[in-house]
Symmetry: D3
């Protein structure tokens, strides 16, 4: 089991271990619909950085505390007082631009840590799941939701193009560019059925409880597999998304020249033949 | 409202403004099933170039006049008399190749103007929608159709690979590469239901009238949003389609370093909090 | 009809010609569920290399002999004795890595020949279709299956990331990245309905017989088209998958500067007008 | 000889034809050191667009009228009154940004036309050659200069990063990135010898007259070659700069599948064998 | 002047400010030829991260303390005891591979911070400058050296391909790929003259003292320029190195849409006209 | 020593082993100035394919037999009778195009094998070195020449753009794009001094004999190094040429995660410390 101490002292997230090698990360600000303050995305980065190299972790479930929201996104009220986005520190256009850009890149970097985490992340969305909810879930590997989920790419409604990753990733993870443009340009809401139909989520469950249970089940299954195989699969799939088939094939060959020198390969082959359950070393 | 004068004197298109900030462009050669002559795609480029920078325009609906066809594509009879595609001007293979290439690139450039238009374009297809109909609609941001639409990627049936954009864009806007190959290699027809199922269109309405009405509704909704947010969203989504996630994130940060210095951001935030309807400056 | 002699002397495949210009390639090791030995993928490369330039061939159907399996993938028992993947030839990590990499790249190269074949390939999957079955079918242009097909991206279960092409191509041929990650990370099975829903296959037929018949019908239809148009369409669609829209448009223009100098173009135009059936020269 | 009428009515440029198939374009505002007004780069685009497809043209020499300057770059005084770069039309940051971006992209597009011109362009620089002089010369195929040339990437001295192409192209056309950074970050001047040593120019001649004569000689030599060979060489070299070797090889193959169907190929081969001077058809 | 306190408490580096807005960073382990321990590259990252956003800094000089060496590279003796590179923590090939990869990526990330630093970095090399010396200097913007510098891409001599950046950057910063291959494959030494001839350094001075003085002079000059112009120039040049000309032009336009909204632009224009010395706000 | 038998039975090349682990490949058709027939480039591919995986080979020298020419390029007389390039097999433009393209891609593939060879290749050029001589030498890692070498990118003189690799690789291996355009557009000759000045070759020796001796010396030196280090360096440098710095760094990390698990690393470290000569296992 993942050592609890590694993830203690957190202010905005709960981290638990529902089963061996599985970690559950929960956004924990339910009184504010799990809306994000700057301190939260910095904490988020820290958590997923640690998970990435924690050898007691093989799969991660990511969800939100409370019944009403996975997250309502950015805490707009707090953000509106953020120095980086308003005038303090000077009025020169280029200098404001520099502050704004640094702020965005830092914010992106925090959220992208979910994607960079070497272990698979399954995101469970329920209730209000808007704005930053979409940015973050697009970084996860697998997205599932409960039937009550209410999604929206909300940024256009605050006068801006979404800049923390939704527009960069969404066209590459769902089916229809027409649909992507529709929801991003109009900021209209959509529900679980629509999310499932276009492939944004791969399952829509009856309730949040059922969805979390399902995600933990998926994570537990993945955790029984060779971590060498699982982590290589995540890495290569993300690389494939951003590269040509020829480059991806080459990268895969170079990746596996190191990784096939593993006992996991032999152990898994053998247990397949002998119908036994393999045990894999930590990674 | 968009100033009518800017779009007067057109020969093959109707341009009207069904609501504030919304422009409706209609292909107007119904007697010939809206089939395209060379003069038409040159006029099309001119129209969408002007719309792109027209500050009275925030969203565009694109459809065809008449009941029978969005467009039957290239006017093949006329094209067969086109100098660039037959022998006049010499018989040397390389010189014919040069004329043909210049012609294709010019033709592509005209049609791509729909995509380059900085304002969102919603394409409404009905009836016969083949060949160039697919090329053009793939440049639009959102595609919807009426139930009677009859689609086909028809070019293989005239002995050629489609070269005005269908093959370049279709694999990136719908779900299934197997389906894309199927319809492009066989030139077989498909209807509204199939187009909806694979995500080629995001809605299939009862009738052309209903589809146009729906598109105008969508355009009107988009037109109430901040044009800074909307136009940035279109730009970044198109950039994301063609770039890695890392490059897209960086580009987004640089884009927004300029764009977040807008009153729209503050106005939209405020009106969200105060539940008022924001008004945005022209763009 | 494709000259039989060209494809005689094969050990693991049947090659026949069910109709003019159509070739049917069948994996022929049914007693072992069509599982692959190294000699088989080398033979496969040889077959598809020849088909690529065989002017008597315009479309290819690819399936497996027997009722139980398209293919159960790699013959794991045989592979486990493969020198390249175990210790013989030295124990130095870098030298093992080199042998392993060369082996993977050679293996990839054989399987990629299905994609490189200039003629369209329609893959028919039935029964057990796992591991290498997915790698190979992802190289085909069109995938269809029978209702009894049982698919799995099985490699994680043998302790490795799939390295013969599934992870490189699957994200680009189906709709939902969440679904791709789900099946690749868990190695779970999925059936024909799920494969159809996500767009992995474009049809799911009642039986293997029906699926093969359908594929031959599609191939026969494609074979009546201009081979200039068909082969150009395949080439440009595959190029589009791996390039930006701008680069794809340019490449298309350069491709067609040579290809529109064909009689096929004129013949097809004419027969369209005269409602006759065109005959095209071999290619 | 290039038909003079095609290039008459120009306000800021002289266009002449010093020898068959060779055109000489001269910036003609010597009283102002050939400094550029907006109308000038628009006229420049028009000229190079025409040259690109003018079959009487096979090579272009580009230089400046007068003894003192190739060009002193942007006419800063005029630019400082340019609406696009100052406040008229509103003060909103995003809207100013949009006007500025459109202006830059339009300006870049004009200058890039030198590169897009299908015929080789030889740029002759003399005297003051700063700012826009560098942007433009980087678009040319071959750069030569006279010994008195005084170069500078001057933009940092007006508080901005050069945005009309110098920073995009210079790293790809000279040898040393350290040198590029040095001259671009410091805006320091450099002379003909330094330009030659780093490969920015390929020749440094005694005087402007000698340099123009040399350029015309080079252009005349190139004009005796097959225009199919010459124009293909320019196209493929520019493509190579921006693509991987693998993609470049493929593009070259597709380019030449059309272009080797030329009589030029046979004529040149024959005249090589027979030691005669070949004549090539126009292109 | 840069506030000294920000850079106090360093163990392996000296940080001073020889003139306004200029910072001098010196590797400070002369007794060991400035060879690098892991703690040093972590400290290096920290320093350049701070410099990047420190508004009192406009240019950085980077050199080594002592007469004998800029740096002799990795402290091999120390590295040979590094857990990540030898067997502790298990013998499984895939798990060793994972530890090694994480170590390399972390090490690369530290060194790349020199490149990511938003302010220009001028690297001064003298005496022994091998291995990591080359990796680090390739991240700098400008490289100069003293005549006594002894360079070598030394990694092949310790049985490995250089992996901290030399092989990734060197082909893009010097002239001749033949020369790059020569020095990287043979690990042979080369001196200041050769480094200058191929463009690896842009100046070779008489002595280390003279080289440092020259670098500080260059840095001081750059520091008098608009930081908006300078930092934009660095950013766009690095982006250009890694992107096509078309993408670079577009990125430049988007960058400057924000940056031209600066008073620096007007101030620099004015002072150019009035021959006064402009003062620029901090950045 | 490389086993001679592996390279016996060759018709157009001599293969010898002047020292341990070094192979010398010589073009052997001196009576025809080593001009190439189709059979020769097919034999060339075969030779370099074998060298690539031959563990007795660590470095290759490539030169031409005889005093007069490295090679005069394509045997034009023979080529003019080549079916693929003239009309036999039909007159349809698209079908000729297809034959021509297949021919070019096959030809490119043969020549590119020099680059794909995993062992470093040092090319020695002397006397006439034109056309294909440039294509081939651009695939080598290191180019040196004798003073009497006469180079030319000759293809424009036979009415075509060079299509076997010169135009794809030359812009990436020498310093000045202006110079590249000059020699490629004019087909003019250039000598050893010019080749050295622009970095096309890295040494110009007194005589062919001296150049061959020098190349063998370089190859011998490289052969004393760890083949793991050497081959990795070649692979990563070629990858770097075609990829962004970020992608190259990542690829390097993944490459070395396998390769640092080598005894070579430890052996080389130790022998460095102990001043002994290391012996490396074959690869």
């Amino acid at each position: 089991m993942a050592e609890q101490g590694k993830y203690s002292g957190l202010k905005y997230f709960l981290v638990s271990s529902p089963s061996e090698y599985v970690v559950h990360v929960e956004i924990n600000r339910p009184a504010k619909l799990n809306a994000f303050l700057e301190a939260m995305w910095i904490e988020l980065r820290e958590i997923f950085s640690r998970l990435s190299h924690d050898e007691d972790v093989r799969a991660v479930v990511f969800s939100g505390v409370g019944d009403r929201a996975f997250t309502a996104g950015l805490d707009v009220q707090a953000a509106s007082q953020d120095g980086a986005l308003n005038g303090d520190g000077g009025k020169d256009g280029a200098r404001i631009a520099t502050r704004v850009r640094r702020h965005i890149l830092e914010f992106q970097d925090c959220i992208s840590q979910i994607e960079k985490c070497e272990k698979p992340v399954i995101c469970v969305m329920h209730g209000i799941s808007i704005g930053l909810a979409i940015d973050m879930s697009c970084c996860a590997d697998i997205r599932i939701c409960s039937k009550d989920a209410k999604f929206a790419v909300k940024e256009v409604d605050i006068g801006m193009a979404a800049d923390i990753g939704t527009l960069s990733r969404l066209p590459k993870i769902v089916s229809s560019f027409s649909w992507v443009k529709d929801v991003c340009l109009s900021a209209r809401g959509f529900g679980a059925d629509e999310a499932l139909a276009v492939g944004f989520v791969s399952q829509a469950l009856e309730s949040k409880a059922k969805a979390v249970e399902t995600a933990i089940g998926m994570a537990s299954l993945i955790s029984t597999k060779s971590p060498v195989g699982v982590q290589g699969t995540k890495e290569i799939l993300n690389h494939a998304r951003d590269n040509t088939v020829a480059d991806s094939l080459k990268y895969t060959g170079v990746w596996n020249q190191g990784m096939l020198q593993s006992e996991d390969f032999k152990a898994a082959l053998m247990s397949g033949i002998k119908k036994t359950k393999p045990r894999f070393e930590k990674l």
